[in-house]
Symmetry: D2
Subunit: 455 residues, 4 copies
């Protein structure tokens, strides 16, 4: 039985009587299917594959859909073992280069060391829908990779190709609004990762009012599939809390009153593109386009969560806390605190300085801030503009950061300079107000009279 015929049998088994097979039989069938696919991949890399146009590539991608985790693992392991570089040629090139590294051109070394799977992926990409299929294949690979170190080079190659193909120059910025196709909008509902969109009525409130915008990057090979999108609110002033922005009955801001564009939610959509960053380009492009369209806008700012704040507070390596503050922080466990104005104010006096410490001082081993959202925006050249106590009193907001939110400011004329300071000196570029909180924090740690006085 040749592999294709075998595969047909397998497919029919898969569909009809999967439950009747023992796990062991199934695994065997999957492994054989993967092995048949490996052969087909070899054919695709041969001259025959060249002549067949896109037929073999299409068949590989269709068969791939029938693999389960066992089959996929077998296939990816095949990619790792059998589709590396031609080792003999590579050895020659490596020796030849090492003999005279400073005059020799390293091109041969580079191209002879390219794993054959790169060409395999490029040929798979020729099939209709190939790009999307490879993005999903990468998502599958990411599921398996953590437990299978041998797959790392496969992932490295796939990421390399996808990075090149999803280069900013190929992305199209599209506005997403109530005239967008439902097939796109349902993905916005699905992929929104920051402030959940509950249903279509909720979606409409996010994208339809005149003072709301949503923009996404799309790739020409992935029709109707956003890669990343950002939700923007146009407001008069920089907002300090999320709830008023999302309130069902809020009055809309007239466009001529708007001075501030607030990026309050950015969501990546394609798990298979993890590690390929679009957010930096998206924010800057949207900011530039909005500035052109609405010249009165002068402030471009985020309203961002501080997802690691509370965890840091509770870590052993977290901040030194006075016993008083420590007990005060325990009151956070009482879910009623946000409704107790006095308690909330008492907490604010302690929490704001701690937050300043978290953003300005708490660093990872590599010297970057602990907070992942901060790393993203500071890395883009934004400035930590303001810390907002009681910015997000939703269950998630309270759980992650005791309700604290942050504004990062994108001053397009400053982002390069800010980025340099951050990248080269590790400086967290922050407003005077945030820096001042840090000093008050220092004070509050050692002299607690002020904090006590309001009780």
């Amino acid at each position: 039985m040749n592999s294709a015929a075998f595969f047909d049998v397998l497919a029919s088994i898969t569909d009809r009587s999967r439950n009747l097979l023992s796990r062991r039989d199934l695994d065997l069938a999957q492994t054989e299917a993967a092995s048949g696919l490996i052969d087909l991949c070899e054919a695709l890399l041969s001259g025959r594959g060249e002549a067949s146009g896109t037929a073999i590539a299409t068949e590989v991608l269709e068969r791939y859909l029938h693999l389960d985790a066992t089959g996929r693992l077998a296939l990816f392991e095949g990619f790792a073992e059998k589709f590396g570089p031609d080792r003999a040629k590579l050895a020659d090139a490596a020796e030849s280069w090492l003999r005279d590294p400073f005059s020799a051109d390293a091109s041969d070394l580079h191209y002879f060391s390219e794993a054959r799977r790169q060409e395999l992926f490029r040929r798979l990409n020729r099939a209709p829908g190939g790009t999307h299929a490879l993005v999903r294949m990468r998502a599958d690979l990411l599921e398996l990779a953590p437990n299978h170190k041998a797959l790392a080079p496969v992932d490295r190659d796939l990421v390399h190709l996808l990075s090149s193909w999803f280069n900013r120059g190929f992305l199209m910025l599209r506005r997403i609004d109530w005239s967008s196709p439902a097939i796109v909008l349902e993905k916005i509902i699905h992929y929104e990762a920051v402030h959940e969109i509950r249903d279509w009525a909720d979606l409409r409130r996010r994208i339809d009012p005149l003072d709301r915008r949503c923009y996404g990057f799309f790739h020409p090979a992935l029709i109707d599939e956003p890669l990343i999108f950002v939700e923007v609110a146009l407001t008069e002033a920089m907002p300090s809390a999320i709830a008023p922005l999302l309130a069902e009955d809020r009055p809309a801001v007239a466009l001529e009153q708007a001075r501030t564009a607030v990026f309050y939610s950015i969501s990546n959509c394609q798990r298979g593109l993890a590690g390929i960053s679009f957010g930096n380009f998206l924010i800057k492009q949207v900011a530039e386009d909005l500035r052109r369209e609405l010249p009165k806008l002068d402030t471009f700012v985020t309203l961002s969560p501080a997802p690691g704040f509370l965890q840091w507070l509770q870590r052993d390596e977290g901040p030194a806390l006075s016993p008083e503050n420590r007990s005060l922080l325990e009151s956070l466990d009482d879910s009623a605190w946000p409704r107790d104005a006095l308690a909330a104010e008492r907490l604010r006096r302690v929490m704001e300085p701690l937050a300043a410490q978290y953003f300005l001082k708490a660093k990872r081993a590599d010297g970057k801030p602990l907070d992942p959202v901060a790393r993203f925006h500071l890395g883009n050249g934004a400035k930590l503009e303001r810390i907002n106590w009681r910015g997000d009193l939703s269950a998630k907001g309270l759980r992650d950061s005791a309700g604290l939110m942050v504004n990062y400011l994108y001053d397009l004329d400053e982002v390069e300079k800010n980025h340099e300071a951050y990248a080269n000196q590790g400086e967290v570029v922050a407003s005077a107000a945030v820096k001042k909180l840090l000093k008050s924090e220092t004070r509050s740690r050692f002299g607690r009279a002020a904090a006590a006085s309001i009780t």
Copy 2:
């Protein structure tokens, strides 16, 4: 004077008073401009480049437009010398891999040997219009490369990226007809490389009648720029000459009568994409689409020139010719022969067997046929179906091939098999009729009674 300011001065010089400068001063200015651009490219590769969005890339590409050949050479030499791989890291990786080539993963070797210019090109691609700018940069590079061997690795890297970016999966097939934008159509007129399109009326005859089609591949980043296009005539039978297909007053074939799709002209449009092949995919895709749209079509065939035929006849390594045939061939110099039926028939008896010999026997050092058009279609899996004496009596046709044309047949069910025979055994897949000509050729060489008898 920093490089940007210097460049501004240069630009103004360039525009206003170029003629007043000595060539030497100009070259100096160009070399300095190139040097400034190299610095800017370094900035683009730095973290600052990352933070700047697309601004620096845009500036590089704009400044590039002001370079003349001297400046471009200096820049490309800079790309060759200064934007290779990091040699220290690469040496480590090479040694480490050579130590244990059969267990070690070659990924590090591959990625450390990647020249920095690859990332540079990827970042340039982020700018608006970047892809098109890089394609044009490659065309400039191709001008210089033959005389400057050091540029070869730069070209290799650029081709590598462009091949990946212009992968079949990203190309869009579009029909080109009388409803297409003029901005596209004028390029069809301009790029047509096989049978000249004289003016708009001539163009309309090629694309507007119901029995004429034109299709092109486009890339989403190159709006309104065809990459390659093919002109198709729908006919009842396989045609043996080009003039009737292009005649101004020809009657159109009713669609329901058409059985044959004739690919009578394929033209590449982008010099900067030389070496990246689209034609194979284009022909097969168009054939498949036409078959779906018009199920009565059963023959997909070219009407192709034989550009090297006459040159081969006249070469020393060309065919052995009897003195009689040699003198007969001399009559080709008399431009009146096509109008002399007897002379033409006499020539036919000699030329057809010689053509068969040319296609079936005349090979390059690598075993492939001498004729470049034959190499392309045979490599695609087509079959040499028929040799057409007096197929193209235009000046160009007579000059290249004494008016001879060829039909290559695309039988979609046979192309894989044909390709294998061609690629593996070097077989020129040909029809029985063409092969028979070869035998008659053998005969005609040794016994010339037949040829003589008609005089």
Copy 3:
């Protein structure tokens, strides 16, 4: 105070302090606003209106939005009184025509009798969004017309214009699916008049599966506003009940299995276009398009309600019922009957013949069938194909027709002939099966042995 200034005051009053004004003051203000609008309409009809481009028309339509029912009534009465024809010219034309009716051309009579409001409406239509505004104005007019006979000529003129403008030749058939803009889809949810669409998930089940279609007519001047739409299910056989078609978990029919296109819901969307019929054209166009796209489809049929059936049964002029049948019909009041198989079967034997009588015999004064849905489809040339007992067991279905549904068959080759029979002889074209029911009905009325035997 000129009318424009007055209007501005009114507008500000309207927005801010409407509640503070007495109803009487408000009415006065509205009447004055209407009077100002009448003046503006006169200006629009003057040469000044011609020169102003679309400015005055735009202003009229904007001011109109501020009128409430009182203001609108005053305005429409103004249209009736002040924008009729020029009576002097008309009298001349009428007399002149009556003098010699058989040789004279009636053109003058026709054009002099045209009410000036027709030109007024045509000029209003020039404003951006004018067509949609006039459609909504007609809807407002329809609210008031029943109680104000003087408005009838205004309505007649508006209908005349809208009929001409919404001529079939200007309508565009568009498929509505999951790729349609949300702004269109929400209107589908809103306007669906036959089988309610509960939410977006429900909508998706209606338009996204491969065996479901939805098509609407659109007008180029009403972007994103469907005029009418039809929902179609592709099935193997003619369906007898609606619930299986709408079931959430139904399996989709493979396209190659589908033989029947079922029009199971047609909804008009624009109240202001009441009386202008699109349904006939829509069904036939969709049937033709589907037949072209899917040549295996051979049956085009509706699954329709019988909205007047139960009401007719209960009318005094309804059918003569035996006491037994009368008491049997009383069991319909017990909402449990559909779940009692024996009761349902007993009812079926009585109800089907009664339904046949309802469709074939029950007529209005004008000789047309009582049932409005029957009038629509028979008028289109469809044939009453089948009566489906227990076709719609929803609350609405039970309430209107005791759950009975009907299939009307559109045989495109027969519709002209059927229409003629219906229009000229008043014949209800019906299948033999339906006609046979009628005979059984006659029998069951006089000899009830059969019906009794199953008890």
Copy 4:
């Protein structure tokens, strides 16, 4: 033989052997074909026509294409005679209205006097391509109407419908540029009526440069068919001659320098829409759009011909001319005068005042200016801004107006007022400079010293 079968015979005769038939036989065949079409039109108006969807309408329009002038005349005469109003009903309505004209509603009178051909045209419009077919039918009608008075009511009805259907509210303004489809552009070349476009290169110079614009009105039912288009040049100052605007090698004006939009050519495209005016709306819409896009534009002006000027000069009712001037004007016959600076200047002194007289004083019986272009622009509310001596030295320009051109100024804030003055007081709104010429004209007529002094 029924009319359809007869028609088929006719069609085949028409195509094959038209030349063999005598004119008389042909006329007979055409008349019978027209008669068959009349029957089909009756069917279309019947209920059967309603049921047939668009099939009968389609057939009528297809058969119409086979009629020659004889057949068309017979058909149109049929429309005039047989498709008038129902005279009996109309008589009742007329009498009933005359009995009480001041209280009675004239609606019945209006709708009963509507000729049945109006509904016929509306039903023909339902066919695919029906609108375009009716526009072409009107063009045919216009050919015949001048010699056949009985067709006037048919034309009146057709114009009425087309006016309503081509209402400004249904027209779409589209920019026409080098990205427009060739199928549209070739029509621009063809329809340009003012300054001939010689070929595609010439067209490109009109629409592709940044300082050139072209806009057209399109109707949704006439795809790719412009109704009217205007060519616009963006310039720094108001131009006084056409040649520099059209010069092949002229330098383009940078957009930021442009202050003036010059409408230098307006062409109607559809002969069948003669009498339905779009130009007024087109100019104002384009002016408004340009002002929004390029806020620095402050002058909107035409550069227009004076087509009747020279003819007026030579008429008996033309201006009173002194013998000297008369002989001077004779020098216009010498085609060399434009190249003789002195002669040209001498002519200017006479011609400019005469032109002022032509525009300001020369009137038709209805009090409107003689010049048709002046009537159009003044009727739109434009102002006669400047008379340009030697504005158009092309053969056509010299022949029509001795090379004189005119600027009409569109001041959007003044057009209503200007129009009123023109429409109500018959005032030709003109600049002080033009009015001053008139005075000099008066002077020059009586005292010729000044004119003489330069000789």
